[in-house]
Subunit: 195 residues, 2 copies
């Protein structure tokens, strides 16, 4: 009798583990080399899309060829944001740059997306970065990258993002969530120079 | 002994069901009213993003205010496409229209996305539509919609889409998949009138 019960418990445990493994992929978390370089995120196109822009620039002098930017976060981090209006530790944001084309196939005007041109990554990871947030650039084929100096993305995100270091003012489906949880800084919507 | 075994089996089954339910959402499938109107798809922002366009139009006379279009498909359909270069029966495509804004917060040039303006839906569902593919429009708050007449989207998708009725020529991450499985009609990339 005791053996049957033990066997049953073992079967329950085994079936449970198998089902859990089959039904979920491991959550997407930041990975690093031994010297704290971040590994290029993979499979981010399966993540949740936050928004896209075309030719966005924080400098009025921007010009030249316009590119699309697509922003993705892992499902697990997105679900946490829905529950709290905040980003959990180990959140990853991928900003993908894609070339734009106008005439092609039946499209006559406007712009559609083509080749991958570059990738920026933002992470919130207090165990790896004393200031929690860090920024990386991955060119074509770059497998790992060191965090950018603070003078780049970090300072701008700290000064202008509406939720923590995240530009939720540009993510229309997350804005109402952050407002509901009072984590949204509406001042950051003001156009600079028009304050 | 027999009772213990039966009990064990019941426990195994119950744990299995609970784990499966907790770990996976039900796959997103098209839902209809009794008179074959499609119900508005929900939670499509958790699906896989295929691409975004800005102001895309198939008419050279298009003008006025440009809108973004974001395209989403359910995870399960996307995974099937990765394995075959074809869309499985019951695939759903949501094309979301979002308004665009230029100046806002620290953004000076280019365009970012704002309010939802409308939604088009394409389904592949041979048990509901004799020609497999059907097209719907959902305005703000529309809960169900009847399929559009063939003269609208259907004929254009049939004549111009690169994979079945799907404009894979505008989805840069799916193009190489379809090419690998030889389901891609490269002729459909030609600009009309330049053939």
């Amino acid at each position: 009798m005791k053996n049957v019960l033990l066997l049953s418990l073992a079967v329950v445990a085994a079936v449970g583990l198998l089902l859990a493994a089959a039904a979920t992929s491991p959550p997407a978390l930041p990975q690093y080399t031994a010297d704290n370089q971040m590994l290029r995120p993979e499979n981010y196109r399966d993540w949740v899309f936050l928004s896209a822009g075309l030719g966005m620039s924080y400098s009025p002098q921007a010009g030249g060829h316009e590119m699309f930017t697509n922003v993705f976060v892992p499902q697990w981090a997105y679900q946490e944001f829905q529950k709290s209006g905040k980003w959990p530790d180990k959140s990853i944001f991928v900003v993908e740059e894609r070339d734009s084309q106008t005439r092609g196939s039946i499209n006559k005007v406007g712009h559609f997306q083509t080749d991958l041109m570059g990738m920026g990554v933002e992470v919130k990871d207090k165990s790896h970065f004393p200031e929690e947030w860090a920024y990386f650039n991955f060119g074509d084929g770059t497998k790992s990258a060191r965090a950018n100096p603070k003078e780049g993305c970090f300072n701008c995100h700290a000064a202008h993002a509406a939720v923590e270091h995240s530009f939720v003012q540009f993510y229309p489906t997350l804005k109402p969530v952050a407002k509901k949880f009072s984590t949204y800084n509406a001042q950051r919507e003001n156009v600079d120079g028009a304050k």
